[in-house]
Symmetry: C2
Subunit: 307 residues, 2 copies
């Protein structure tokens, strides 16, 4: 099969050039290309595209700026894809790190300056044999399932439809989220922030977890009721919380979450800029492969729905 | 199939009783039993066993005490199995925790009391796309492979024979360990302590790793040259070290490893007493199933070799 010509702009990033080749394309000038991978924002995007270009891959997961700049409406004949989902595995890895670190009392062990083996014998737990609830089984949640099962945990997933999530022992529809809390040892929050998900983890839900339970949030701060969480942590009613996102965010100096011994806060860095390029390159390679094969592309932008 | 009668002593631990049933046995008095699960040391072990008993499952991984007490030679007609390997997955989970915590700068993030996002954007890495060397692919190393591949890392394993380790991208025989250091981003030490493995990770090996490389040791302290490691950590020549075992051990107060910012020390608690019972119960269930099926048992004691 002749490789499909794909243009790369505004720069000839070598990682993306390799990804285009890996997906079954070849880098080509824009006026020969059937697709364009655009590694920057809307400023400087070509005013007109050759007719041969049928698909444009954008760099970011959110495309609000592109709507605001009116780019999509200027090129109604082109299919657009974003980077949505490209970073799901990176964020899932961060969630796994927070959960393991919590269950194994890692921060306190790391801070110790003397051999406190007897104390940590009583505090180090395991995910093996535990049940972990994942609230929101989109890209991040789905990427997390095989990581958790690999360490011997069982997953109870919650998604909108209740359609079984691959690898989960049980999938509940969002309408039955209430049944989750008595069934799981730990909870990972990975759902989008909407009016329905605000304070999804509140006082009532925290009461139904146990004194060794960890709550991890890698989604948005608003999904957890911070005051209820702080109260549960202070009283030791749950094991702890690992938070990459907070409400308010950034977390202000002096906030109790900074100093509670059973809270781990990371400053919204589950997907830091330095680790994005290889993940985006994998996404580009996967989409080029789909484009070449005539399959549906990942992360298509819907110009009508606005995302 | 009629369940095989298995005795349980000296106590009727409910977790082990359930494991016997799960494996296809049933709990029975010793004089009816074909096997015995013994959940204690050699003191109090019956002086004589009924002829019907063909197999005894012991609680600990090491059986030196049993040799010293002369129990094996008193019962030459019986097959003995230890708990060796039962805790491999627990220790592997700890190795994964140390590696993820290191690569994602978790201890420093957890210790912060202000929102240092820009700093951690530059410090949080990922195991995805990295290559991890596992030195010693026995039970722990083999259990670690699927955990690492689940987070998107590639494994290079080293074992005695070089026989391919399932899930590893490459397996090297111990005689070619020297080829490992230039090929991997991180190293996990999981080999037994022998004369050959003393200071397996020394100054020369550390020099061949990079400034983002983490070294994790969950085996024995003697496998790593502590002075060479401290020098490499001080000079920032490697990313860091996660150590559940140290040399000397316990690590004395005031030792530099306690306070070096890129060292995480956990006090030999990868497999704490509290998490052992369920792992041992799984081992018992697996061995009862094998006994019932007439298959080779796991962790057979070799009375001649002495382990």
């Amino acid at each position: 099969m002749t490789p499909v010509p794909v243009a790369l702009g505004p720069r000839a990033d070598p990682l993306l050039a390799e990804a285009i080749t890996r997906g079954g394309g070849r880098c080509a000038p824009i006026d020969e290309a059937r697709a364009l991978v655009w590694d920057a924002g809307p400023d400087g995007f070509p005013d007109s595209l050759p007719e041969s270009v049928r698909w444009v891959q954008l760099y970011s997961a959110g495309v609000e700026d592109w709507f605001a700049a009116g780019v999509f409406s200027r090129h109604p004949e082109v299919e657009w894809t974003s980077a949505a989902g490209a970073f799901a595995a990176t964020v899932a890895e961060h969630a796994l790190t927070l959960l393991l670190a919590g269950v194994r009392a890692l921060p306190d062990q790391s801070a110790a300056t003397t051999w406190r083996q007897q104390e940590f014998f009583g505090r180090v737990g395991t995910l093996r044999g535990s049940r972990v609830g994942i609230l929101g089984a989109g890209g991040i949640g789905r990427a997390l399932v095989p990581m958790l099962t690999a360490v011997g945990a069982e997953v109870v997933a919650v998604n909108r439809s209740g359609a079984p999530v691959p690898g989960a022992a049980l999938t509940l529809p969002a309408s039955r989220t209430d049944e989750l809390w008595d069934r799981v040892d730990h909870v990972v929050v990975a759902a989008p922030a909407t009016a329905d998900t605000r304070h999804l983890v509140g006082a009532e839900q925290l009461r139904r977890l146990g004194p060794r339970s960890w709550v991890v949030n890698v989604a948005r701060g608003s999904l957890v009721d911070t005051d209820a969480l702080v109260a549960a942590l202070r009283e030791g009613r749950i094991g702890g919380a690992g938070l990459d996102v907070t409400d308010p965010e950034p977390l202000p100096d002096g906030h109790p979450l900074w100093t509670l011994p059973n809270a781990i806060v990371t400053p919204h860095c589950s997907n830091p800029p330095a680790v994005r390029p290889p993940a985006f390159a994998d996404h580009v390679a996967a989409n080029v492969r789909r484009f070449v094969a005539g399959e549906e592309l990942l992360a298509r932008v819907d110009p009508v729905a606005g995302y």
